[in-house]
């Protein structure tokens, strides 16, 4: 008798469990985009990221495991502007027949003069205003994928956009502690142009816009000499290494120019779980604190 009662109880709750729909899977190229997507979807979708914390998107070579991850996607998200070297994310999505959205669509990219060509700087997320454009583009793509979730996506995005506004104001306040003539940011590669534009810094780096071998990328002796000369002539107090780039080159450059290494900045990739840089906002805050400590 008891077993029949238990069976009835189990049958009562069975349909609810069986009716639960499969969560949509969003596959992102970079850690920053994955964080934006997580902020917007909450628990409604599963967000996966191809790049691990600390990995370099310019030089990354997709693995068979990445192709398997892409195969599970309902939607792929990429940065665009050739951040993903040789467009590896678009290729992964195309090979598996998955829809892909470009997060930098609609924003005005900075133009860099490199190797006699004009290059669009892909590191747009370093401006919180641009990060808001990423968020809006992700909301549009998700709403097309899952129209019934639009209200939820928009409500979460609105909250997150307010956090980005607060972040932007906080960064401006922090940099008030650094004199305008001291605002020179020397980093491993040319990733901080949007950041420098928004917060009144000049940027210099021995490597171009990409750590890969694209046009205008990589280190040249002329560029290295120009950076050392700039450090000396402007009296730069410190230079910075990046978490996703080998620090050796900047350390040598610091020795040559006789300046300190001011710390490590998150650039093309965020930090791992448990670190200050495991979210976009945490990454930006940590970078700002590192820069202020070293340059003020």
């Amino acid at each position: 008798m008891k077993s029949i009662a238990l069976l009835l109880t189990a049958l009562t709750f069975l349909p609810a469990a069986a009716d639960e729909p499969r969560k949509k899977v969003i596959v992102c190229s970079t850690t920053q985009i994955a964080d934006f997507a997580r902020q917007i979807v909450g628990d409604r979708c599963v967000v996966k990221c191809i790049l691990a914390p600390g990995a370099d998107p310019h030089t990354y070579m997709p693995t068979p495991g990445d192709a398997e991850i892409a195969a599970t996607a309902d939607l792929c998200l990429e940065n665009g502007l050739h951040l993903e070297g040789k467009n590896w994310m678009a290729t992964l999505a195309k090979d598996r027949g998955k829809p892909i959205a470009t997060c930098t669509e609609g924003l005005e990219p900075l133009e860099l003069e490199a190797g006699g060509q004009k290059i669009h700087d892909p590191h747009a997320w370093f401006s919180p205003v641009n990060a808001a454009r990423y968020v809006n583009n992700i909301v549009v793509a998700l709403s097309k994928l899952d129209p019934s979730g639009t209200g939820e996506f928009e409500a979460r995005a609105k909250l997150y956009l307010q956090q980005l506004r607060t972040l932007d104001a906080w960064i401006k306040e922090q940099f008030n502690a650094i004199l305008p003539e001291k605002r020179i940011l020397v980093t491993s590669h040319d990733a901080f142009n949007y950041f420098c534009r928004d917060y009144g810094f000049k940027s210099a780096s021995p490597v171009g816009w990409s750590t890969g071998n694209e046009v205008g990328a990589g280190m040249t002796p002329e560029r290295r000499k120009a950076v050392v000369d700039s450090i000396r002539s402007f009296g730069v107090k410190a230079v910075f290494v990046e978490t996703s780039v080998n620090p050796k080159m900047v350390q040598e450059l610091a020795r040559e120019a006789g300046v300190a290494v001011g710390g490590q900045l998150y650039s093309d990739s965020m930090g791992g779980p448990g670190t200050a840089g495991e979210t976009y906002i945490g990454m930006m805050r940590e970078n700002v604190l590192t820069i202020v400590r070293a340059l003020k």
Partner: protein
């Protein structure tokens, strides 16, 4: 007998829950309450002390044009302007959404990001047949855009206008 009783209890229990949830979902809306529009031709006039620009941190999914200033009267959009110059009054006439008695105005205005660190003011006037019947001035907190809703009493035709009132 016990088995039948157990099954009956379960049927009654599960049936009651199913009945309750289906009835609850099918329940119609509460009876609507509508007020008549106020008599006369109404205008809304807004003057800002700053250059209003579209908010770079707004949710922008392409459904509405980006705006630096939005005024809604009783939930109906009365003004949507991409940019507003400081000191220049924006006037929209007629505004059909104004009701006699209590009204609610919602105002959103965005100063440029580099001027957000100080307070800004915005003045709103409601005019009936060209005569002001209500006006109010709002100040933003430093670091935040103006986003405020306020109740507005529109007197019956012939009644005197309210005094100016400043909100800080």
């Amino acid at each position: 007998m016990r088995f039948l009783l157990t099954a009956l209890i379960w049927v009654v229990f599960v049936g009651s829950v199913a009945l309750f949830t289906s009835r609850r979902d099918a329940r119609g809306p509460v009876a609507s309450y509508a007020r008549a529009a106020a008599k006369g031709i109404f205008a809304v006039e807004v003057t800002a002390s700053f250059t209003a620009e579209p908010d770079p941190f707004a949710l922008d999914t392409g459904k509405a044009k980006p705006a630096g200033l939005v005024v809604r009267v009783n939930g109906v959009e009365a003004i949507r302007a991409a940019t507003v110059k400081p000191g220049a009054a924006i006037r929209v006439e007629p505004v059909a959404a104004v009701l006699e008695g209590k009204n609610e105005l919602f105002i959103e205005a965005y100063p440029p990001a580099d001027q957000l660190n100080r307070s800004h003011a915005i003045r709103v006037r409601i005019l009936r047949d060209g005569e002001p019947v209500a006006e109010r001035t709002f100040w933003s907190e430093p670091g935040t855009p103006i986003a405020t809703a306020f109740p507005l009493e529109v007197p019956a035709a012939g009644a005197p206008a309210k005094d100016d009132h400043n909100d800080h």
